[in-house]
Amino acid sequence: MSSCNGAKCDLITLPMPFPPIYDFPPLYTRQPNSLIRKQQLETWVNILIQHARENKGWLISHDGKLLEPKQDHSLFVNENIQRQVPDPFIDEIWVYALQKGTVLKHTNDSFYILWKSLDSWSSLLLQWFETTGKLNQVVTIYEIVSGDDSSAWEFYSMNEQICELALSKLVDRGRATMITNDGKVVAVKVV
């Protein structure tokens, strides 16, 4: 818990570490050459992932602000070089990211951001179940993302929806059963 808080404080006080290309002005203009543009979009997706990983972000708004944990600064605005991505191009970036599976639609205006794929998350969760000896037990979602046992793991403080999605991968593989209450998943049992 404490280490996480420390990390969070660092992130707020220190400038976010971005790759040098983040300060390259043409990044903020939609390139007319389609081959180049594909790489440009790829670069944006990488920046999104890196940003989310550095900040343990799970939910991001359409205009590039992290919602979980909450940040006021938009990823698509670069004050250093006074550039910002125009709205139509932001749309294009989201479309590309959705297509790649890097983000999932949450609401019309926000996205879950997966800095690891759902499959990696699910295998990491499985590993957790195995190492902590929680197989064949009913474990609540809350316990997984906020419990003491998981505080050293990458998925600590994970968005519960994403956790559910990752767990459903295990369900698909026949390794887990979901326990629902009023149509809402509350717990899981991994075998």
Partner: protein, 522 residues
């Protein structure tokens, strides 16, 4: 024999003749061969023949810089046209004048020269009665001239002691050496044929002599005859133009027209040249040719001046009436023309047609235009070509440039004609430049590697100064090279760089800034 009628004709690199000041081309005939007398002139059998207002110029198709010759129209005496017969192609026989045509150009135009020939035997004598010194032309013989003061005829015995004959040969010789222009009086170098200022043919141009009397020979001339030309001393020399493609009748007609014009031009300034008598009174040539002479003194001369004045007035009035009649005739002609033209407006010729008349078909016209464009580009962009690797001009700019500088007053070429003309560069052997299409849309006239050259330049500028915009690029390119890369061209090159992925754009309100693409390789 008589080979000195031919002169060397200077040509441009585009195989067009260099015309003199005031010289205009009138007609061009393709595929012409030259004969001197009855003999073919070897190496001058296939070329274009330009008819200009002063010369006939032959430009060889293969070696235009070596084999091109010209003939002065002023040397031509007569024309004869032989039409095509079986295998023999149509020929135009041009008879040449034996003597240098000094008189024709001289009369009336050149007063000093005129006078020199009139007073070739000037005699001065002193009147025994009033002691006035008289000047008389011609020999002193019966009827004896009258004294200008007292009007009494001289008696030879009485004046014999005072007669002094002035030999004016020296004067005439001096005048000849000066070689001054009959039209603008500019004193040209003795060996020059045409006035440097106005292009008028000089009087003594036909036989140019060195100080030692040798005849000037142009070493650039290269005339080799196939057989004996069959020209003898004393005969009227002639040359022939053989028309291999056409029947040459258009050329013949055009030439007749030019010669007529030339003749009327020469006579135009003569003041009542052919006038013999007015109202039955015979006219002394002095009245016409000699102007005001303020040396005249005495009662008789006053009387004569009065008489001359009256005669001159008469001539003037007659002239004026004649002119008035001509004017009226012209006016009625114009009126008739106007009435006629009103009927069918639909047949109105476009302005584009004007100087196409001298070409038989569109192809030859385009060939000529093509050469002209080539010449224009080469002269206009000479510096750029020398200093750097290439030139690149888009067609819009070229069209404007060409029509602005070359076509003044003679109608314009149409854009499509210009394009076709530019496509002919390679065919005509003009290898320096060709027509290329940039980005698959913009037509440009370009030298070999200019596009790559400027592209490399632009990329390196952007590399040095990331975020350059179009203005900055244009300034840098044109500042270091002191020529004008058109902004349109630069835009096209930038477009090409972007399409190829070499440059990236950063679009701002201030404009588009360009960056070198280092991160995203295609």
């Amino acid at each position: 024999m008589y080979l000195d009628y031919w002169h060397y004709a200077e040509t441009t690199t585009s195989a067009q003749p260099i015309l003199r000041e005031n010289e205009k081309d009138i007609y061009v005939e393709q595929n012409v061969g030259l004969y001197h007398g009855k003999s073919k002139i070897i190496t001058k059998q296939k070329g274009r023949c330009y008819l200009t207002s002063q010369r006939i110029i032959y430009i060889d198709d293969k070696a235009h810089s070596k084999e091109s010759v010209c003939l002065e129209l002023g040397d031509i005496k007569d024309l004869q046209y032989n039409s095509k017969f079986l295998k023999r192609s149509a020929k135009l026989v041009i008879f040449l004048k034996l003597e240098a045509p000094v008189d024709k150009f001289d009369m009336g135009l050149h007063k000093a020269g005129n006078k020199a020939s009139l007073i070739s035997n000037k005699v001065t004598w002193t009147c025994p009665i009033c002691m006035v010194t008289n000047e008389t032309t011609g020999e002193l013989k019966d009827p004896m001239p009258r004294c200008i003061n007292c009007g009494i005829a001289a008696d030879y015995d009485m004046v014999a002691s005072t007669v002094v004959a002035t030999n004016t040969d020296e004067q005439t010789a001096k005048l000849d050496q000066v070689n001054s222009c009959p039209a603008c009086t500019f004193v040209n170098h003795p060996q020059i044929n045409n006035c440097e200022i106005c292009g008028t043919r000089l009087l003594k141009s036909n036989v140019i002599q060195y100080a030692d009397g040798g005849i000037f020979k142009d070493s650039r001339m290269n005339i080799v005859l196939e057989t004996n030309p069959g020209l003898k001393e004393g005969d009227t020399p002639f040359i022939q133009l053989s028309f291999r493609n056409s029947d040459g009748s258009l050329f013949f007609q055009a030439m007749c027209g030019v010669l007529e014009d030339l003749e009327s031009e020469a006579n135009k300034l003569l003041y009542n040249q052919k006038l013999v008598s007015i109202n039955g009174v015979n006219i002394h040539p002095d009245i016409i040719s000699v102007g005001d002479n303020f040396n005249q003194i005495g009662i008789t001369s006053l009387e004569r001046i009065k008489e001359q004045q009256l005669l001159k007035n008469d001539i003037l009035l007659n002239n004026a009436l004649g002119d008035l009649n001509n004017l009226m005739a012209l006016a009625s002609d114009i009126e008739r023309l106007y009435e006629g033209a009103k009927g069918d407006n639909s047949k109105k010729d476009s302005i584009l047609l004007i100087d196409r008349d001298k070409f038989l078909n569109k192809s030859t016209f385009l060939d000529e235009i093509s050469r002209e464009i080539h010449q224009l580009i080469m002269s206009e962009f000479k510096d750029q070509l020398k200093k750097q690797d290439g030139i690149l001009i888009n067609m819009v700019d070229l069209y404007a440039l060409y029509n602005k500088s070359m076509r003044i007053g003679t109608g314009f070429v149409s854009p499509s004609e210009m394009r076709e003309a530019c496509e002919r560069f390679t065919k005509l052997g003009l290898m320096d430049i060709r027509l290329v299409r940039i980005n698959g849309r913009v037509l440009c006239v370009s030298s070999d590697n200019s596009f790559e050259f400027i592209k490399k330049n632009i990329v390196s500028i952007v590399e040095d100064a990331p975020g350059s915009d179009l203005l900055h690029l244009t300034q840098i390119l044109n500042q270091t090279n002191s020529n004008n890369w058109a902004i349109g061209i630069i835009m096209e090159v930038l477009q090409n760089c972007i399409t190829e992925g070499e440059l990236l754009i950063d679009e701002q309100i201030t404009g588009i800034h360009y960056y070198v693409n280092v991160n995203w390789r295609v």
